[in-house]
Amino acid sequence: MGSLFKKLTRSQLAIPLFALFLIVIFNLIRDPEFFSIAIATNNDGNTVLTGNLISIFNGASAVAILSIGMTLITSSCKGQDISVAAMAAIAGSVFVSVLRSNEITIPVILLAFFLSCVVAALFSLFNGVLVAVFKIQPMIATLILFSAGRSIAYWINGGATPTVSSPLLTSIGGFIPGIPIPTPIIIMVVFLILITIVLRLTNLGLYTQVVGISERTAHMNGISPVRIKLIAFIISGVCVATAGCITVCRIGLINHETLLLDAEMDVILSVAIGGNALSGGKFNIYGSVIGAYIIQALTVTLYAMKVPSAAVKAYKAIVIIVIVVFSSPVVKDFVFRTYKKLFKKQAEKEVQAKAA
């Protein structure tokens, strides 16, 4: 019991999991039915699962995917890319413009997705070069695309909010016939598995952390910090394209002004809530993903509570401040010490019992 608690409090995932747990409990008390999942038939005639739980996982997928790339950038570059949402608008626009100039078939969708990945990776690489080669602070370097990204998306769209519609796209943004789980959730899971495999089969995790903790040590041990940072940005580019395309498919529309509006802040928050230091170094991808789900769970909770429009952001901010403060080392240490004091006597008794 004691050692388990110790392990938990030391683990990076302790606080995010605890926060998620609290939100769940809060909702269950408020409405025992909150997390119930129902089966429904949608307007395309598919049997699908609905419910708040599905909504949370579904709604968070884009931010969760973005947070994976952001975690790598944060860890290696000791800073954040604030242009991810704007780049997602670019990627989504590329996706839509390819789809619109062709008949929509599976190969065309794959081509469109591939091209949007290439474009997003190139833009992200542009950020990466500024950060890794020219040593510009990430937030400053990415400010360029943060402000220009949506204008570039506008040019690609020719100034309108073009729509695309096809049952195939609905399958990506909604449900694949015969599968009751929303496709974005499936894509997110596949993405997470892929990144897990990448982290297992390569040294990306180790190198990224070494670069983030000490660039000089990395250099002295044959790791090129520039290369690792660029890899992080390229991976983030792919994340951006995926998130952008999913969001386009959800609605069947690209609106460069509102696509993933303000998502960069949610993404950075996910990384922070996940227990990753925004100053780089050690990271845990799963923490960030949990962070994304916490934010979405919070949003859905606030919707369900019918919090007035104008106050939603304030409520969100309060909860997030609480989470971030609780995950600070100061509070963690305090909790740990208090626990130790409370259970010290018990432990001593156990020792005595054993001795006897």
Binding site: E33, A40, T41, N42, N43, D44, V48, T50, G51, N52, S55, N58, G59, A62, I90, V94, S97, V98, L111, L115, V118, V119, L122, A148, R150, S151, I152, Y154, W155, I156, G159, A160, T161, P162, T163, T170, G174, F175, P182, T247, R250, I251, G252, L253, N255, E257, T258, L259, L260, L261, D262, T299, V300, Y303, A304, K306, P308, S309, A310, V312
Partner: protein, 326 residues
């Protein structure tokens, strides 16, 4: 091949963006009896609405109609002010302004008046004395909201349970389109199931409607303050298997008259779309012609005529004629 084309497109776009940023406000002296017009507007990238608005002015104010036009686009008020001052210095005959912000224009308009330049405001009002401009051609967001609410009341539903999805809080469109509905809510003629902002974001609108569906509360109207959010709401309805539109359980209302939105209305997926007209150029053109021929203007404030189209009456010609975008 395609990748190259798109890349080229993007590179070109980046370059063009740079050039546009350095865009200048040059006006040339005319010697051929053309009317010199300076237009200060927001850039077309602001929205689909703005793109249509800019295109409208580009179509009307042409040499064939007797105009020599200089245009300046910016989202920033101070840049707009400088450009307007420059137009005045260059000696234009007419100055047409859609201001980025409502304040700070008095000085510029005064110097225009001194220089004998006639000023028209379009799309947006500004905080200045009425004597400083000839006329303002503007949209009335509240009128749009009233139109939609009146249409709803005309449907004579046994009860109105409304999901109200708002735009970005505090924007003109949000305030105008929310007010008439709020009045119904407080009258008790309609019941507010949920009222939440989606900040014009389609995906957020979808999540809000999802959350209403999940809560199990009954609703029969989705009132979304623009087309995009209506589309997001419909996506949520579709996923939950709730029918909508002309023969469905839920009435869907959008705003802005995007062509794609009107096509949804035509197909009966949505019930109603209300216009937010970007077409002010023709009206201003008529007023200028009237002034040039010695006439007088009757009204200071001209409310842009706006209309609605519902599933029962819409025709393909309407879409071609009024729809914006493609």
């Amino acid at each position: 091949m395609r990748a190259k084309r798109i890349l080229a497109l993007i590179l070109a776009a980046v370059l063009a963006l740079g050039l546009a940023a350095c865009g200048s406000a040059q006006a040339n002296k005319d010697k051929d009896g053309l009317i010199k017009v300076g237009i200060v507007n927001n850039p077309p990238s602001e929205s689909g609405y703005r793109a249509a608005n800019v295109a409208d002015f580009e179509n009307v104010f042409i040499e064939a109609n007797g105009y020599k036009v200089s245009t300046f686009y910016s989202l920033k008020n101070d840049e707009q002010l400088n450009a307007a001052q420059q137009f005045i210095t260059d000696g234009v005959d007419y100055l047409l302004i859609s201001a980025a912000a409502t304040d700070g224009w008095t000085n510029v308009l005064e110097s225009a008046k001194k220089a004998g330049i006639k000023v028209f405001l379009f799309d947006r009002m500004m905080n200045v004395d009425e004597g400083l401009f000839e006329a303002a051609v503007i949209s009335n967001m509240e009128a749009q909201g009233k139109m939609a609410v009146q249409w709803l009341l005309d449907q004579k539903l046994p009860e109105y349970n409304v999901v109200h999805i708002q735009g970005a809080m505090g924007s003109d469109a949000q305030i105008g389109r929310t007010k008439p509905l709020d009045e119904q809510f407080s009258n008790g003629t309609m019941k507010c199931v949920v009222q939440q902002t989606a900040t014009w974001d389609e995906a957020t609108a979808k999540q809000i409607v999802e959350s209403v569906i999940n809560s199990g509360e009954k609703f029969n109207v989705v009132y979304a303050e623009n087309d995009g959010m209506a589309k997001g709401a419909v996506a949520a309805l579709d996923e939950a298997g709730i029918t909508h539109g002309a023969n469905g359980d839920v009435i869907v209302i959008g705003f802005d008259f995007n062509k794609w939105a009107l096509r949804e209305v035509l197909a009966g997926n949505w019930n109603l779309d209300v216009q937010c007209s970007p077409f002010q150029a023709q009206k201003i053109h008529e007023m200028i012609q009237s002034l040039e021929s010695g006439g007088k203007l009757s009204d200071k404030i001209v409310i842009n005529e706006e209309k609605y189209l519902d599933a029962a009456t819409i025709k393909q010609e309407d879409i071609d004629k009024y729809g914006i975008g493609d």
